[in-house]
């Protein structure tokens, strides 16, 4: 069969191509340029090959930051996904003021700008006037997020959980609401326990939305910048300096553009690789016939 072929159709794609080119491809290629050359100014660029990359990979502080980052993302996923699912399971269903109220309450943290979230927690966690920090100190705990690395870590984690668990909960809730009532009725008739209902009906039906939740939370937490920057400024020491902050410090603070560019490319590839591997793994697992 002859398919109509008309090159003018490309015109329809053009606006998208233009937008993506200006907002993503051009900046990315600029970064590639910087990562393989030593650029002092317009017309003053020298080819350096892989030197910046070698320098970046040898940098111990970077390796530390990467390790810290991985630990952080894993912790975020390990807490937020189960917690979000648990919240979704407890949420009221059906129409009514209870459902609406719960949804609004859950959506609130998601509506707050990220730097404001950082400021809220900075004040909340203060030992002298902060509701959370002061309460912990009253309980006799030696809590001080500006001085103690572990406290700083826990505070940043708590902030992320507070800020983003809602997203997971809302996604999981949407997944749960899409399950037809017949499934629950059939499970009841089959004599399934509460756990079986979760394991064999709810969890499989939430699979799709949970994949998206994990991907979103992984990518976002892996690139986290604003909140720890406002809350701890990366400290104490480098305890909460994650990759993006490390990168900014290198590029803007020390004006080490070549190294920072090489680092950006590596950073980008890591996120891409993780997401890709994770996505292919999770979409393959649990769909095969093998058992």
């Amino acid at each position: 069969m002859d398919k109509p072929w008309n090159n003018r159709a490309w015109l329809l794609v053009l606006p998208v191509v233009a937008i993506v080119a200006f907002s993503a491809i051009l900046p990315l290629m600029t970064v590639v340029n910087y990562s393989v050359q030593d650029i002092f100014g317009p017309g003053q660029a020298y080819w350096v090959g892989t030197e910046w990359y070698r320098k970046v990979l040898e940098d111990e502080r970077l390796r530390d930051a990467l390790l810290r980052q991985m630990l952080y993302s894993l912790a975020v996923l390990a807490i937020e996904i189960p917690l979000g699912v648990a919240i979704a399971l407890c949420m009221p269903s059906g129409k009514g003021w209870r459902t609406s109220l719960t949804l609004v309450l859950l959506a609130l943290p998601l509506l707050i700008p990220w730097n404001v979230v950082g400021t809220i927690w900075q004040i909340f966690a203060r030992g002298d006037i902060g509701l959370g920090g002061a309460a912990l100190q009253r309980l006799g705990l030696d809590y001080n997020y500006t001085g103690d690395p572990l406290d700083a870590w826990l505070t940043v984690l708590a902030m992320d959980v507070w800020h983003w668990t809602s997203l997971v909960a809302l996604l999981a809730y949407a997944g749960l609401q899409a399950i037809p009532p017949a499934f629950y009725q059939a499970a009841k008739i089959d004599g399934a326990s509460r756990w079986s209902v979760f394991r064999y009906i709810q969890l499989p039906k939430m699979r799709g939305v949970l994949i998206i939740a994990v991907l979103l939370r992984f990518m976002d937490s892996f690139m986290i910048y604003t909140e720890p920057f406002v809350l701890t400024g990366g400290g104490p020491g480098n305890a909460t300096t994650f990759l993006s902050q490390f990168l900014t410090r290198m590029a803007v603070g020390q004006f080490d553009l070549g190294v920072a560019a090489a680092f950006s490319i590596i950073y980008f590839l890591i996120v891409l690789l993780f997401s890709y591997v994770f996505y292919t793994f999770i979409t393959k697992v649990g769909t095969g016939d093998a058992r």
Partner: protein, 371 residues
């Protein structure tokens, strides 16, 4: 195995029902003998699914009691009644294999492995699923999934009845026939009570030994498919069952018969229908006759020597539709339209007249069959 008995069951989805219109299911009592295949037939919203869910225990009725084999199960949850249910959309456990799906109800009830294995394999054989046992249930076609839903009911040895809630809705037309035949086969083999809810008269009439026709939250007639066809107890049954449905003509009573727009129609001999206790001056009468039973003939030839033919009513034919093995003739009788089913090969006369065979012509008072 047990007789299912409903005693004065009624259900309303409102907390404080006032009038009869607040009830999704009006007060009714019925019982089903053990081992029958019964269909609940009715249009959407007639209360048939509500009734089914009351039997399965998914809904607790607002009023009345339900008994399985004499045991009151009104307050029991579905898993504690010995029933299984197949839903409109196939319910399977996606992550499990077909085998595990079938074994699931037995595992939940703690059955020992050798027994469980034997029962699962037997049911799989019954449903032609043996080759698919190791496959993941998610990958199967809708009809195979629906068989698995049914299989989860069949494996249990404690099941007295299997309930079906429009189970063929999402099945391809050519698979519907197969699945329905399979159901009948299985019914013969296991002799379980089957209760089948549908709005499709073909499904109901071919599946069931006994069909209960429902409308507006009430059962209007229970009978074999033949009884429903030949003796509709209610005008609703008349026009809901059959294709096209029964002709219903408003009429007045007259000596020895009825009059439709002044045209006399003979009725079977018997006591005068307007003498009964329900007969009042405001009663509305209709005669009903199925298109299959109306006879069409030449007015003139039957008359012989020019006079009006005995028992023939003159009509105007307005339309003839060809439907393969037969034709549907649409005719005007006074101000009313009548449909007549005519076997293929028989011509439509040029001077058509209709004969209403007295044994086939029914009289209804306010929608209910008289006599």
């Amino acid at each position: 195995m047990a007789t299912i008995e409903l005693r004065d069951i009624a259900h309303s989805y409102r907390p404080d029902p006032r009038g009869p219109s607040d009830y999704a299911l009006r007060r009714l009592s019925r019982s089903w003998e053990d081992g029958t295949a019964c269909a609940l037939l009715g249009p959407s919203g007639c209360g048939k699914t509500t009734l089914l869910n009351i039997i399965s225990g998914l809904i607790t009725p607002s009023e009345g009691r339900i008994l399985f084999g004499g045991r009151d199960v009104t307050g029991l949850s579905p898993e504690r009644r010995n029933i299984a249910q197949v839903f409109q959309f196939p319910v399977i456990y996606d992550t499990m294999t077909v085998y595990d799906n079938l074994a699931f109800p037995l595992r939940n009830r703690g059955m020992a492995r050798p027994d469980l294995d034997r029962r699962v394999r037997r049911v799989a054989e019954l449903l032609d699923l043996t080759g698919d046992l190791k496959r993941r249930a998610q990958r199967l076609t809708p009809d195979a999934k629906q068989k698995i839903s049914l299989g989860r009911g069949l494996v249990r040895e404690d099941v007295a009845a299997i309930l079906f809630d429009e189970p063929l809705t999402v099945i391809d037309p050519h698979m519907k026939w197969q699945l329905r035949r399979k159901l009948r086969e299985i019914h013969k083999e296991v002799r379980l009570s089957l209760i089948y809810v549908t709005h499709d008269q073909v499904e109901a009439l071919t599946f069931a030994d006994q069909v209960a026709v429902m409308v507006d939250g009430a059962i209007v007639q229970v009978g074999t498919p033949q009884e429903l066809f030949e003796e509709p107890a209610h005008t609703f049954v008349g026009y809901f069952i059959g294709s096209p449905g029964m002709n219903l003509l408003p009429c007045e009573l007259a000596e020895g018969g009825a009059r439709v727009d002044g045209i006399p129609i003979p009725l079977p001999a018997g006591p005068r229908p307007d003498a009964g206790p329900h007969a009042g001056p405001g009663a509305r009468y209709e005669i009903g006759i199925r298109p299959e039973f109306l006879e069409i003939d030449h007015l003139g030839r039957a008359a012989g020597n020019g006079g009006a033919a005995p028992g023939l009513v003159p009509v105007d034919v307005t339309d003839v539709a060809f439907l393969g093995t037969h034709r549907i003739v649409t005719a005007r009788l006074g101000r009313h339209t009548v449909k007549v089913k005519l076997d293929e090969g028989r011509p439509v006369p040029g001077d058509p007249g209709l004969r209403f065979p007295p044994g086939r012509t029914k009289l209804y008072r306010d929608g209910v069959l008289v006599n």
